[in-house]
């Protein structure tokens, strides 16, 4: 853009000048306007979460104008005739009022609920994108941790939010929540009594959940989202491997005007989609469930999707309980409550550090990996998805039993086995698929792209014509970087003494992990940095070989 080609409107220099006189902002804001946003569809997932959060704040504020967070018992005489004359809490009655007596109230309520579901879906999809492309690697580990905390807060926020209307379904959910709290060793009953203000259900829980739901957790989420965005801004975006993208640059379109326009369009699309969903797809029709009473329950009670994992974990668990010294350890509550989410969140939080330790890779990474080029990571990710997915599906085992006509206990037994077997199988299958795709890439690099023309040579031989990759294709296909292998487990130096880095159980474990991480396919004879490996070929293809852990040079001693 040649600056002198564009006329500067008088208002801009006037208003801008007034502001700049006071805030000295021209330079800084100019940097903001030129902030580069790389273009890739997967980068829009986090943005969905951000816009959903904005919509949640807007619609939530509106709902708070009408919702009465109180369990005071009243007799309903509103416009929903079927509940006329029924005892219910003010919370439930005001939710009915929002739904039936306030124009647009039902719409806003449903947008709020759909947006909450979309918020959690988008965070999860965004986290999967970040995981599978390795975007969490140095220097972005802290933002990855913030993301995990945000997802956890989102779960709690959702649980408290959908429990507020005090309907039969969410009341059952609260009953379960209280029962789980009681199961926590030592402090469980105290936690439950302090949160509920005494025995379940009590009258304190709705106003307490309300203030947590509208102030405490949204405040934390807002602060962490701001930190997340600030860190992202400061560290600049990652980018996908493409021609022209390097570890030393960011290529994309500037904030002003491109991201402004695109972000605006995306916001309107997301908002519009949520409105359409909320208009035509009914969500949480609390008037059908009735007000909460402690002795009623309906079958096929499911929580919102992001709590399905916990629900499934509770359902899958066999009846384990330990009694000792006059105390009860309720394992059939404790394990489902803590273990699956503990494995997933703790595992996710530790993963960047584990990977850096196992690969010995301490470098900064700004170009993302293609998932195939990190088979261990991709395999672990798919294993985690299957683990989560099985527990999640088990959370609706009664619905599955009904729809699939399979006995309920059979479904639970299948899940009990599958939750251990499928993730392990998924890991190995995924890893193999990744290596297979790497082999295809190696083929492309050495052999080129078959262009669909078969030519017969004068002496009768048929050959398939191929062209070599264009620079653009090559930038993607040849983007693999494998950190050099560390000393293998038990590897000895020339004096017969284990190398320092490979000593002890930790060194051994690191060697084993490193072997898995460095298993890769290199294009034979192709000069792209991996040509002169001397590793053992596990498997020989025509143009590619898999090399094992102790290939390449290492920098230890």
């Amino acid at each position: 853009m040649s600056d002198d080609a564009v006329k500067i409107p008088g208002a801009l220099s006037g208003v801008g000048g007034w502001l700049d006189d006071r805030f000295h902002g021209a330079r800084g804001v100019r940097v903001l306007m030129k902030k580069v946003f790389p273009d890739h569809w997967s980068f829009m997932l986090g943005e969905i979460a951000l816009w959903s959060f904005v919509i949640l704040l807007l619609t939530g504020t509106y709902l708070a104008l009408f919702f009465v967070p109180s369990t005071t018992d009243i007799v309903y005489h509103g416009s929903y005739a079927k509940l006329n004359g029924i005892h219910m809490s003010e919370a439930y009655a005001s939710t009915l009022r929002i739904s039936f007596d306030i124009r647009g109230g039902l719409l806003i309520r449903q947008i709020h609920h759909w947006a909450a579901n979309l918020f959690m879906v988008a965070i999860m999809a965004h986290m999967l994108r970040v995981f599978f492309t390795g975007a969490y690697r140095k220097p972005r580990e802290v933002n990855w941790l913030i993301g995990i905390v945000l997802f956890t807060l989102g779960m709690l926020e959702g649980l408290f939010g959908y429990s507020l209307p005090d309907d039969q379904l969410s009341g059952a959910g609260l009953r379960i929540f209280e029962g789980v709290l009681q199961g926590i060793p030592i402090v469980g009953t105290y936690l439950a009594y302090f949160l509920f203000g005494g025995a379940f259900p009590g009258s304190a829980i709705v106003p307490r959940m309300y203030i947590i739901h509208v102030l405490l957790i949204p405040g934390l989420i807002l602060a962490l989202v701001s930190a997340h965005l600030f860190i992202m801004f400061h560290q600049k975006h990652t980018q996908m491997p493409m021609h022209g993208n390097t570890e030393k640059n960011v290529v994309g379109q500037p904030f002003w005007p491109y991201f402004m326009l695109k972000g605006q369009a995306w916001f309107f699309f997301i908002f519009g989609a949520l409105v359409v969903l909320s208009t035509f797809a009914q969500i949480n029709p609390v008037w059908l469930y009735g007000p909460y009473t402690p002795l009623a329950i309906s079958s096929a009670s499911q929580p919102d999707w992001y709590m399905g994992l916990l629900e499934g974990a509770l359902r899958i668990m066999p009846a384990w309980e330990v009694n000792f010294l006059g105390h009860t350890l309720s394992l059939s509550v404790l394990i489902p409550f803590a273990l699956p989410l503990g494995i997933i969140f703790t595992g996710a939080a530790l993963w960047p550090f584990f990977e850096a330790w196992a690969t010995g890779d301490k470098a900064e990474h700004h170009i993302n990996d293609r998932p195939r080029n990190a088979p261990v990571r991709t395999g672990i990710g798919v294993a985690a998805i299957s683990f989560y997915g099985i527990l999640w599906a088990e959370g609706a085992n009664d619905v599955l039993a009904d729809k699939l006509q399979i006995p309920l206990y059979t479904i639970t037994w299948i899940a009990r086995v599958a939750v251990f077997v499928v993730p392990i199988g998924a890991y190995f299958v995924t890893k193999r698929i990744c290596l297979g795709l790497q082999r295809k890439d190696a083929e492309l690099l050495t052999h080129g792209v078959e262009i669909g023309i078969i030519r017969q040579l004068p002496h009768g031989e048929f050959i398939e014509e191929a062209r070599s990759l264009t620079d653009e294709e090559n930038a993607v296909v040849a983007s693999k970087h494998i950190a050099p292998a560390l000393p293998g487990p038990g590897r000895l130096d020339p004096n017969g003494i284990p190398e320092p880095a490979a000593r002890g159980p930790l060194g051994w474990a690191r060697g084993v992990a490193n072997r898995a991480f460095t298993e890769t396919v290199v294009p034979n004879g192709h000069v792209n940095g991996h040509g002169e490996h001397n590793g053992h070929a596990v498997e020989e293809g025509e143009h590619a070989a898999i090399t094992g852990g102790d290939s390449g040079e290492h920098h230890h001693g």
Partner: protein
Amino acid sequence: MTTEDNEGLGGPRRVIGTPSSAPAALDAKPPAPEQAADYVPTDPADMGRAKVAERLAAACFLIAFIAGICFIVAYIGLEVGPNNGGDSVIAAMRSNYALGSSLGLALLALGTGSMIWVRHLTPNIEIEEERHDLKSAPQDRAGFQKDFATGTAITQVTKRPLLRRTLMIATAPLALAPLLLLRDLGPLPGTSLRYTVWKKGTRAVTLGGNRPLRSADMTAPGSMITVIPEGYQDDPDALAKAGVILIKFAPGELHIPTNYDGGKLVSTMNWTVDNIVAYSKICTHVGCPVALYEQTTHHILCPCHQSTFDAANGANVIFGPAARALPQLPLTTDAEGYLVASSDFTQPVGPSFWERG
């Protein structure tokens, strides 16, 4: 900074199975055509395309405008609530459809218009930003460390352990204060989880009807009914623990083992009246009401997590996560023949907890 012109709506098709063509390179572009100062295309073909795109985007914005008007009209025109005569559910749904479809259309049209604008009217300009080391320059790090250490030295905090330790002591109780303030959130649980409001002579009345029952009222074997202690129908805290199910069996079908827990009798055939047994309705897993009863198998199923109890055999657990049988309520009849409790439950009902033992 490179400029490339609008890339039309579709590039060459790629053969399935080959890598997708990478985006146009930054540096491999032919020199940008002379760009007009206002970025409006000058090439006649581009001008034509831009004109179409402009009209499409404008049409979208017009649709959004009209849909917005419809939203306002629907808000004013479609009343909801009790005062509009007809069925208020239908009125609410009608209003919801009208408001939602107009608002949704307006937003989607705005989004579409904006997308056409940015994709087909703005020239596709990419810029490249240099990435700098995140690590500070060595002299900056050293300078920071020096300044920080100097500041620390000025305070003499490392030289004066007395000050340091007394300050730490001073903050300890204050750090506990916020926790302390949470103490009055609720009463201590004490032994309250061990007891319910059932006591000797409390009549079992039907849930909803508050009608006391004689054993003759439950004639058909296999029927299950939920009862509550008389006088507590409006006390959810009491009901959450004291809900009870009565199940009537055919003669000879019911076998309740005589069990003791810590020296206390917790189940016995003697606590039944005419083959009617009373179990706690609160699941021993996490406290949902066990509401489903299958007559043929005598299975009680908790709909929440599918713990299954054998009603004919002391409500023992036969499947699912619950670890204990449903507690049995000692049942007898009073002078008038009504079903009453002969005492409270002899063990805590509902979910397990640490102090339960």
